[in-house]
Symmetry: C2
Subunit: 338 residues, 2 copies
Amino acid sequence: MATIKDVAKLAGVSPSTASRAMHDSSLISEETKSKVRHAMQELDYSPNFAAQNLANQSSNTIGVILPAREEAVGENPFFIQIIQGLASICNAHDYLVAVASGQTDEELIKNLETMIKRGNITRFVFVYSQVNDPVLEFIKQQKQTQYVVIGSPESDRDQTCYVDNDNHLAGYDATRYLLEKGFETVIYAYTNLDEGVQNARYLGYQQALNEFKLPKFPLELSNRVADEAKNAQALRELLKKVSGRIAVLACDDILALDIQYLWDLCEVDPSKIAMMGFNNSGLAKIARPTLTSVEIFPRFLGTEAAALVINKDKDTFKLDLNRVIVPHKIIERDSTRF
Amino acid sequence: MATIKDVAKLAGVSPSTASRAMHDSSLISEETKSKVRHAMQELDYSPNFAAQNLANQSSNTIGVILPAREEAVGENPFFIQIIQGLASICNAHDYLVAVASGQTDEELIKNLETMIKRGNITRFVFVYSQVNDPVLEFIKQQKQTQYVVIGSPESDRDQTCYVDNDNHLAGYDATRYLLEKGFETVIYAYTNLDEGVQNARYLGYQQALNEFKLPKFPLELSNRVADEAKNAQALRELLKKVSGRIAVLACDDILALDIQYLWDLCEVDPSKIAMMGFNNSGLAKIARPTLTSVEIFPRFLGTEAAALVINKDKDTFKLDLNRVIVPHKIIERDSTRF
């Protein structure tokens, strides 16, 4: 492999001049820079990450933080697409993407400590957002460390740089789509309104119904299999109160599928009730009828986070640029084709 | 942050002596080593990755290669668990895990080139295995590069270091489980026997049926929604030929769910036919009835690959150690409780 000395020799300059030329120093003439560039090309020289990292005292590596709890990963089928998007952009800009993981928060923090201290890594992307996260607190306390959150920050939203979908608007758009298809009753099914995404989608649902001057029908269901009979009972009770053409908007595709399984227990003809979910996960294509859902483009959450974290510079950090919203799109399938 | 010079000063030795002491050189007395170790502790000094990487000319970083095709990722819900397992072990051993990704094979290879040339990364883990993979060919051609494949290598199996489940045994165990539960007809449903995993599971199914001297009923289905009527027809035809208590063993959970949706079209009472899948994915818990499936422990595929790649040393590389098999386990649920 060619070294900077080889480049300097071929260009007929000293190694320090070659280094300055590579860094586009104003002390070096254009003529010399051109000679050095040609020598670099001829020798297929690329500066070494390790040497650069030593020189910069900060590394060309972006740390990507996965949640410690294994269940949290299972719940989100999009992590891998997010990471693909992140790595694709970072790699193209000559950044490494280093994954931080651990079985517990303590283990994860210990691993991050090593990455920061020994790897000089100062830029991180959280691929999740969680209330009272000790890992986020740890990163916040580090000097010179910058981070981007994927998802909506649970605190300090104005001071945090993040990439997310507009879940409020997604809930609004989904509800309007159903209303405009002529459904007179739209039920919003959820499992936990304390959860930010479910709540934001619910608020959008509310707004659309208010605009149409139609009543809201929120329905809380349990996501435990053991509570199936209770869920069926709740659904049956609600269906007694409503009339006209009915649609159920579930807070995500998994809950939509759970509800499709409830129809039998409810003695309801499922072909009469429309169903819609969010996330456009693999489930939506597998379900019968295939499920109309809102695509949220997880890969773009990753590419946008990469662009933010690569360009992030503490000195020029502007608050009006601290939020990137990835658009969503309704994918119509058989479950709403009436 | 403390430097090696600070450590040397506090220990009262020269920086080069401090460095030798840290690397446990035989030229340095135990007394001096002890002084240096105390100084390191006092100053909370940890050697810098970048400095070490420069010194070693090979880095403390493991490259993890994701498949370029986005669809390939969607097909495998386990990548993220594999990566979690990998990162957890590598982080604990002070290795960074750098993700390589790209939208096309060419882009991925270009990114790997940069990682090798500029990052001095020499150890890689492929989290997938694919026939005629140009990315694998590229890595093979690199000097001093070592790699571990997760999944069974599609070629050069004897010369390749890999971590996998024993899919043949998993197919055998699943079939025996069904036979021992008293099912007289076991159908094996698949989409493509050219695909290594589906084929290995099929061979295990065959072996178990041969041992029980029972006939085989392989059933090829299409995984396209558009072919649903054709699939239902194939299933109906097969069901006419068999008798007794029937079980369907699907090559994975997704196909098992697809088949559950076919019963209506087949005018078959699903409560009379047992169903079983592989992978124990989230689907198995969501399906109704909940689906008996074979757990394959993807996290352990990652931790075992990490252990192999960290300990891999070309000089001591032994062929009898080039394969690690992660066990599987049958998770019984309602779909086979008759």
